[in-house]
């Protein structure tokens, strides 16, 4: 390790020396940005546009893999080699903010004409907030809602314009739609033993009035009991326990599940694959009039506190935020902004689905924010899995998760 680090630092020193030699003629400020966006996604394209302005700031891009973002960022920061700007998955934001690895942007945001907190959905904004200060800017957002197959609704004698509104209705509807002889499950979702499982379950617990700090409260136990009922009665496939959201929704598209809980990233594939009429609805709530909630996904922009050019880096973020208007049109991602309407796409089915998701986003809540989120999430996943496999009762499983979360100090 020691030798390897020396080698790396020598290599880096050589590389930076040659870079310094090259850029000596131009007096541009050079920023480094890390993100996992591919060439058809926002970051590299926005950087290209930004660099083309030639305003004395040049951004250099490095693409990361999803699983590497946090560990690379941590390693880079602890060895003093952090980039200036990074995009970070929202549940991981607090971890960096709480350790002051990210720059406090509160004052710059207050003076900014482009980035205004009131323009953002409350969920994403909360995820960049730590200790009542802003440590980042939401980049994009997504959430989950209910997809349902209108043809199967009709076949089962249900009104295709009346999707289930409450948990009771959801279970009853799923029962009516389930048809083992035709290989049709009533509903599909994901209870996988990774972040996806937490992502899907937490909204249910939150609708029941729980938070991750009170994960064994009555509402959360009821939520998990409903999940368990759906699996025990085979209204959802037992593979729900090991299947990702993307794979689960594929069974909906194939007509083997009559409803699906997933996010807007499914829309394009569904338009292509689903050979039936489908619709979307907000996530059902515990009882009529109960509070709504939903999951909140996607990444945030953040500036590392080690940057030598905080002003220039913030300028870049302002530029990126100014491009939120065309984000859906250009990249198919939803901006985290409540002030920007999603422009019509010309496809009525897509537009109505997007409208559902934008409505659902108003209730989206971040996971955490907590610097110990990965461990908290793991405790929740364990509770989901041990109760759904029948090894523990929902209440006991969530009690155990609660004890674990309290011991972590979340």
């Amino acid at each position: 390790m020691g030798i390897r680090r020396t080698m790396i630092s020598i290599a880096l020193a050589l590389a930076s020396a040659s870079l310094a030699g090259m850029s000596a003629r131009a007096e541009d400020v050079k920023l480094v940005l890390w993100s996992l966006d591919r060439d058809i996604q926002p970051a590299p394209n926005l950087i290209k546009e930004f660099n083309a302005q030639k305003n004395g700031i040049q951004i250099e891009y490095r693409q990361l893999q999803f699983d590497d973002v946090v560990s690379e960022a941590m390693r880079a920061f602890s060895t003093g080699k952090a980039p200036d700007i990074i995009t970070i998955d929202n549940p991981n934001h607090a971890m960096f903010a709480s350790r002051k690895a990210f720059l406090d942007l509160t004052d710059m945001i207050r003076q900014s004409k482009v980035i205004k907190p009131e323009n953002y959905f409350p969920g994403p904004l909360k995820s960049v907030t730590w200790d009542e200060k802003y440590y980042g800017v939401p980049k994009a957002t997504n959430t989950i809602a209910l997809y349902y197959n209108k043809d199967l609704f009709k076949a089962a004698g249900l009104d295709p314009e009346k999707p289930p509104q409450t948990w009771t209705e959801l279970v009853a509807t799923a029962k009516k739609l389930t048809n083992p002889s035709k290989n049709i499950y009533g509903i599909t979702f994901s209870a996988k033993a990774n972040e996806e499982g937490t992502f899907q379950f937490l909204p249910w617990a939150q609708m029941g009035g729980a938070t991750y700090k009170t994960i064994n409260s009555e509402g959360a136990v009821k939520a998990l009991s409903v999940w368990k009922q759906m699996l025990d009665e085979k209204l959802a496939s037992p593979d729900t326990l090991t299947r990702s959201q993307w794979d689960s929704t594929a069974t909906f598209n194939a007509g083997n599940a009559a409803m699906a809980i997933s996010g807007p990233w499914e829309i394009d594939r569904m338009l292509k694959d689903a050979k039936f009429q489908w619709g979307t609805a907000l996530l059902p709530v515990p009882s009529e009039g109960a509070q709504r909630s939903s999951a909140m996904g996607d990444f945030n922009w953040a500036i590392f506190s080690s940057t030598k050019h905080p002003k220039e880096a913030f300028k870049a973020l302002e530029f990126f935020a100014s491009k939120d208007v065309t984000m859906y049109k250009d990249f198919g991602q939803l901006p985290a902004r409540s002030d920007l309407p999603v422009p019509p796409t010309g496809n009525p089915l897509k537009d109505s689905a997007l409208a559902t998701f934008v409505e659902q986003l108003k209730y989206a809540q971040p996971r955490g924010p907590s610097p110990e989120w990965p461990k908290i999430s793991k405790a929740i996943q364990d509770a989901i899995q041990s109760s759904l496999t029948g090894q523990m009762e929902p209440k006991a499983a969530l009690d155990q998760a609660d004890a674990k979360i309290k011991s972590i100090g979340g």
Binding site: M1, I3, M74, S78, Y185, K192, D239, Q385, S386, T389
Partner: protein, 300 residues
Amino acid sequence: MKRVFSSITDGRGFDLVLVGVPFTFLLALSGLPLLYNILMSFQEVDMFSLGSVIRPFVGFKNYVDLFTEPETISILRNTIVFVVGSITGQFLVGFALALFFWINFPGASWLRGLFLVSWVMPGLVVGAIWNWILSGDFGVLNFFLQQTGLMSGNIFWRSDPNFSLWAVILANIWLGTSFNMILLATGLAAIPADLYEAAEMDGANAWQRFWTITLPMMRSTIGAIIALGLIFTLQQFDLFAAITDGGPNNSSNVAQYWAWDLSFRQYDFGKGATISVIMTVFVMFAATVYVRSTRHEVRG
């Protein structure tokens, strides 16, 4: 000066250089990381102290914490089941295939070569394919078992806690069989044919020849292959990531996957390192077996 130089080109110095180069290499790339790993298992390693070597020393806290977690015992048991199950399966099927191709029918060597394709495939690809085969509702395996009348209902190989570990073992056996077969085939080829001729003249039947010639002559190969198998199965990670993710409820979680999960998903590097240390002890045991069995080989 000249003496030193001549010693290096031809003499004791030359020997030292020859030993020194691989030794430095081993020390730098295996020894130091290993020691660093042991050090980390006694420290509280936080994501932000990842870059420094001096970190809060916590003694055996990581070890104690690990063994008080409810899932630890079942994960260690899973690891043993996985290792023993995989090696047994890989070895038996591999040996059977090696013996089968040893008959040397037309095209045998070609076919044997083709078997290596499974070994060449990346684990994640193998995992994705087995994922489809083992899927509960529309999996090929369930379809096959039902069509042949072996069972009536669907088995959820990946999601039933009673089967999930075996699902990964099944995939791993498929993945490792061809490697076993090739090594065993070379072992078989090295047995002198006259031994069999002599035995045949003395009236030994096929079964006796197998027990008294083939198996004893293969002893070192078998020892080596089982030791290598232990290392390869303890390394197996991709299949878990692709098929079950260690779930449901840790029923298919094993030490190596757990170490990764703790280090890179929960960012608890100290505990991840602790599991690695425990695994290192197992692997050292395997290495001893391996070294001992190959030592025999030299004597022939």
